[in-house]
Subunit: 460 residues, 2 copies
Amino acid sequence: MKTSVRHLYAKYEEYKDKDITLFGWVRSNRAQKSFGFINLNDGTYFETIQVVYDTELANFKDTQKIRVGASLRVKGDIVITPDRPQPFEIKAKEVELIGDSEEDYPIQPKRHSREFLRKNAHLRPRTNLFTAVFRVRSLLTQAIHNFFQERDFVHLTSPIITASDAEGAGEMFQVTTLDMEALKKEKGPIDYSKDFFGKKASLTVSGQLQAEVFAQAFRDVYTFGPTFRAEQSHTMTHVSELWMIEPEIAFADLKDDMDLAEEMVRYIIKHILDNAPKEMAFFDKFVEKGLIKKLEKVSNESFKRMTHKEAIDVLKDAKASFENKPSYDKDLATEHEKYLVKHFDGPVFVTDWPKDIKAFYMRLNDDQKTVAAMDLLVPGAGELIGGSQREERLDVLKSRMKEMNVDEEELWWYLDLRRYGSTPHAGYGLGFARMLMYLTGVENIRDVIPFPRTPNNCDF
Amino acid sequence: MKTSVRHLYAKYEEYKDKDITLFGWVRSNRAQKSFGFINLNDGTYFETIQVVYDTELANFKDTQKIRVGASLRVKGDIVITPDRPQPFEIKAKEVELIGDSEEDYPIQPKRHSREFLRKNAHLRPRTNLFTAVFRVRSLLTQAIHNFFQERDFVHLTSPIITASDAEGAGEMFQVTTLDMEALKKEKGPIDYSKDFFGKKASLTVSGQLQAEVFAQAFRDVYTFGPTFRAEQSHTMTHVSELWMIEPEIAFADLKDDMDLAEEMVRYIIKHILDNAPKEMAFFDKFVEKGLIKKLEKVSNESFKRMTHKEAIDVLKDAKASFENKPSYDKDLATEHEKYLVKHFDGPVFVTDWPKDIKAFYMRLNDDQKTVAAMDLLVPGAGELIGGSQREERLDVLKSRMKEMNVDEEELWWYLDLRRYGSTPHAGYGLGFARMLMYLTGVENIRDVIPFPRTPNNCDF
């Protein structure tokens, strides 16, 4: 096993005055006349290690010329340095250049614009900001799996390619193996029986309906996979390819659903604060001042819960002047969401929404006007989670589908779930990238996804 | 928190003679004249709980009529039953029907064909076989994340939609928002500048190239996401939508790559045997006799390692007669793979393959004829893992790309990785479903995927 910078930071005292060999990349090289300092990062840890070299080195002159971005092997002693900001450094005995870095290396030790770094998405993980973002992203993945698996939830993968457009969450990408150029020469309508799946197929917008299938067998389940939106959105919070977490719980109602969401958010925050202290300190200092305090507060308080009607009442009573008039029949505008989380100084669940602005599968409340839906609004990221209790009554579901023009035949299997051992059940969707924005303070969704897909952008 | 069958099996002694409430689905209901037995499964555990009811029940007559598949709430006492196969049962005080099951419920307590169950993929998770398969699937997901995260690997999501076809692993699905019917009326070639991404886009066949980007920043990384094949394959081991795990390690060679793969396979087997004993016993009994012994053996022995040339030598010396003649220039046929794993009685790494049958990114060996590639062959599942050391030398990579007609301009960013701090690095791909087949003994890949996609099949 190779050693790592992470390991050395945890155990450097054990290596005092011992020989170690380290591999990594040069973040900076400050060469003086008779000595020099290389900051080496090996990708395993946020911090670099300072390598000190001097004329005792056989290749001292070559080492002085080593450029930023180059990869090295360094052999040397660990020297404890109580008087420096870093607790130890390496006194080099050997420095070997493994992979040179050409002079035009774009990632120099200076401030680069986010836009510039997006164009160099293949190199940006080498910067402090993106090292931190993508490590927290990885920890977030693990936190989510841990949370659900510790609670015996069964993970499923929902299909990515679907022949259904019933979810109706927006525009879809078509998936085909038909030769489009050849099609142009054929007469008559397109014959989808010749397409790969024998019918028209698209990329899924949600794994929820399939998660419901599994919840009706395993009780507590979750998906964690990519979903797609073909909308021409050019905002800071929309991308075309987004990973979602969609838990689904049987024998459960909207309150259970909110309890689960709240517990999950707390768990995630704690996991990230515990496991990425360096990265979180960096975000707190350079990206969103007060981030850690905000997250600690959220992880220690109960989330406010109110109905859509109550939320509108609050907005109507507000002294603020809104561009969009709050209405009992309508969705909340972004300005309303912002007002609410500010007013209540923390996350807010808004429940029981007007049925006409929500999906067909949400459970109709006894008032016949609202559905048992919930949105979780959080400071800074707007709607983080959207969920609902699902309509488990076959007759009500069918009449809602008719009302909303959802094809019964296509969803025969979904209806079957209500024919054979139906249960009250509920679930929600969490946008993975949104959660990451909330945790890091990074404001543009393109900066929390390794290689984001947006209109006219499919690079790398 | 609701209690669960899993919890009760672990702690039933603590609940002795205590009142508990349980929710679940009826697997069977054997009604006698003055009493009856319901086997209740709540999805949290492989085993059912036996609920005993008698005429003391207010709704005894209705309870007798409860059908298979119905969902119930049961309140009763835990009674310890040392003389029965199951260690405890519930003496019912209340049985409430929550969701009825219509008479034509397809999943009756009898043997159903796999084909029938594939057509009822929305109900098959309620059978013993698929309860076991999909729980092990979920545990396998967690095992894989645990393995890599415990070793500080950074997880990344590679993009699903790609404008590159450089990987060349086979036929691709096209992704488009162009109105195909409208296109037919337009003259001239298709104008992809009007498509969503401003160019022709497809579903990815591999996340490896992007994983290499991250390995050159984080050293040790892995992807875990869906990939796609648009081939017209109708075999037991091919699907169109498949999840893959692709680790990538920097400052590492082919030996390190094999060490990692071997360690991972062992870890996974141990995790599954430890965490799914009931399910594994079921597979061992009903799906593949000797499965557990096979897996235990694999997890305790070193894997055999040999070059492609050595493997061909073994095959040439074999007394077996092959349909395909073993050749130093060619790929191994399935019959060859089978022979090798049988001959060596366990998993075999075959390394150093002829360059002409392998991908452009694999590192050219000093003989100029072979590349530093490896396939891991295992008994029962054939090729489980395929990997290689990557070509880190810019000039060699470029000449290999030219030889194999891979567009340099399209992969400018991939080449950049060799310009700025290139390192020896390696990685591999593990097919998630293949691994699951190997662990469960299930022979058809359609039976280890919740909703598989194959030619002419995009149901659910």
